[in-house]
Assembly symmetry: C2
Homo-oligomer: 422 residues x 2
């Protein structure tokens, strides 16, 4: 590696190098990309010990600096996890190559054949925290979609990322692909991030994955489009006609299966009639599962284990075993609550009434509207997009889970026989 003198020079070099290989990456065949994926999986397995050794250095430093056990666990990349990472790389082989897909086409009255063809989005800047396996996930998804990527991981995982960086470079070279297709930022200097974010002329899109502070910084400083991932304040509404067992299953799954993720439920809305039928039993089940209930005055009655909800609670993504509860008079009141407090991420209804399902589907404006299923299904893998590179809370370009296709743009191809415009 060249050792540049300043962070700005280093950032500029990374961006220029990525830009320089963009057109080569855009025209790689699927076979070339898949061959590289298979080699990378093999290389990961062959270097599992070396990766683990580097990871232990990160873990020791993390322990010394007082990282929480949860963060240390996220940071861990032992041989078993390397094996599962290698398998996830191999899974990308099976995903359809989005580049070159003909989205639609037609023959115009004058005989022109027009088609809209997917092309890569361009140079990607990926900024993420903690988990070093994201380095490999993002690298494989960007390469499969033909986009050069600059990968900037958290400082906690630098030693692991340096080893992964070498592996990536070696595997690219071995396959005759440009080494600058996948560049790991080999420094934790935060100034480099600011410099990269200023390079809107060289970098086409930035994807931040991490906490709110990271995303807000990126949104503020970026001079290129950003695929943002903000709050998931997700609701489950139990309609008056909801089946009790289905309601219980969906509420428990939406809240408890993995409370720390964005598509977990934060608020339970119950139609008064549903509440009368089974709120005491459901509340009991939730409390037994260790869920703290923050309740409206009506749902609080007779629940010694629950606490009153504040207005702020209904605006909060708890990301924990905490559930806001509110009893409503009608579907309209539920819709109005979701409009006021929701974040447009994922909202579910449990109902047996076709009209209620139809209205909920039409009137809830969220990236995923779920009828009689868990909110946890708003996920690229579950929705059939294959692996996801992020989840967008924006309405522009891509909304909800972003898979390989969402990492593309398109161009119009116009084929004629000499047509001119009259």
């Amino acid at each position: 590696m060249v050792s540049p003198t300043t962070p700005t020079q280093y950032a500029h070099e990374l961006a220029v190098q990525a830009r320089a290989v963009a057109s080569t990456l855009a025209t790689l065949t699927t076979a070339q990309k898949n061959s590289w994926l298979r080699r990378l999986a093999a290389d990961l397995r062959a270097h599992a010990t070396q990766i683990h050794a580097a990871n232990l250095l990160d873990l020791q430093a993390g322990q010394a600096s007082g990282l929480s056990p949860a963060l240390l666990d996220r940071l861990k990349l032992n041989p078993e996890r390397v094996e599962s990472l290698a398998r996830s790389v191999e899974a990308v082989v099976a995903l359809p190559d989005p580049v070159g897909e003909v989205i639609e086409g037609s023959r115009r009255p004058n005989g022109l054949r027009v088609s809209r063809v997917r092309v890569p989005l361009g140079v990607v800047l990926f900024i993420y925290e903690s988990r070093p396996n994201v380095t490999i996930d993002a690298a494989t998804l960007c390469l499969k979609s033909g986009n050069p990527v600059i990968l900037r991981g958290g400082s906690e995982s630098l030693q692991t990322n340096l080893v992964l960086s070498d592996l990536l470079a070696r595997s690219l070279t071995a396959e005759g692909l440009p080494e600058h297709a996948l560049q790991v930022v080999r420094s934790t200097d935060r100034a480099i991030v600011g410099d990269l974010l200023s390079m809107g002329k060289l970098i086409d899109v930035t994807i931040p994955r991490g906490g709110r502070a990271l995303i807000e910084r990126v949104t503020r400083e970026a001079t290129m489009p950003v695929i943002k991932h903000f709050d998931g304040i997700c609701h489950v509404y139990l309609d008056q006609s909801a089946d009790e067992q289905m309601a219980v299953d969906i509420v428990i799954n939406s809240k408890c299966q993995r409370p720390g993720v964005c598509n977990a439920a934060e608020t339970l809305l119950l139609h008064r009639e549903a509440a009368q039928r089974f709120w005491p039993a459901l509340a009991d089940t939730l409390l037994k599962r260790g869920v703290q209930l923050r309740c409206c005055p009506e749902s609080l009655v007779g629940l010694p284990g629950a606490v009153p909800a504040t207005d702020q609670d209904f605006h909060t993504e708890h990301l924990d075993l905490i559930l806001n509860v509110r009893i409503v008079d009608s579907l309209d009141q539920a819709l109005s609550h979701i409009r006021t407090y929701g974040s447009g991420h994922t909202d579910a209804i449990v109902t047996s009434c076709l009209q209620a399902a139809t209205r909920f589907e039409a009137e809830v404006d969220s990236s995923a509207v779920v009828i009689n299923a868990s909110t946890r299904f708003n996920d690229g893998g579950e929705l059939g997009l294959g692996a996801e590179i992020g989840i967008s809370t924006d309405r522009f370009h891509a909304r909800g889970p972003c898979g390989l296709r969402e990492m593309t743009s398109y161009k119009f191809v116009i084929r004629g026989d000499g047509q001119i415009r009259g």
Copy 2:
């Protein structure tokens, strides 16, 4: 109209009012939207005299302030043009409603039915210059795609726009639609634009249409996504195998049919063998059509009517009867020229060689790649998108012509029978 005290208050009022009707607009039926379009067309015809009278005031003011004849012509809205405007409104009735379109859908292994359904993009801020018919075009396209819009026209057309604003409000009310769906900014205070651009929390997208200064200001100040429309530095490349007559027709059409628009050609690249065959004849035809030729040393030889091209010429969107000319050795050199000097808008090849066509299509990264046809076909109407609200030079969200579909986002609808995640 309420008369607000400050530009900031007025801008805020416009944005809040637009936001407040967004969910109503998103759920209008196609029949309701089409009924309004028909009424608007009728109202335009019924008020043609009144529109013309207001337009005469704008024209007088424009003359007094020294607007060029071309600009005055763009500003003009006489009864014949009102009739053609009414017809363009009626044409939008026939365009498919993009809202509710199921983009794709599948059944997942666990029985979940997943579909991706188009929804409106949200509140639109449309900023444009001069032509008052854009007020009606943008209003109809935004309403048909379910998006509330704030329309900010040029100060030159204020009187005309005030009359059109009243017509829009009256027709909406008469159809029982929210009057704030389509709001014309009834002031030419430029501070209002700055205030609106700062309201990224209320406005979802800004579309500027006008000169470079406008677009640069909007890009700089906007706190929401922008659909940009920058330079069209479009090329026609005549391959060694190009048919002479086809080449002449396409070059003349691409350059001369409407030289002031973005999809007109600015640069002609000729393979040396094509140049030897017919450059003198083609040059003669171009000169006779009044085109000024700015030539590389080789193409300049023997052309007394031509001038030498500078490097800057090849970077310039002339928007006039001026054509840069360069002779190249190979397709590779042509591709390299386009990569260096092009703006990624529209580039055409004239060739009889399948391999050259295939490489050009794959390797030119422009919003439209054209094979054996005029560059002028990169247009929403010509490509089958129906009317267009703008042409995007970005890669993000929409690229090239933006029709009704490009004014939408989507949501995932997930229908189950009680599925939970394992």
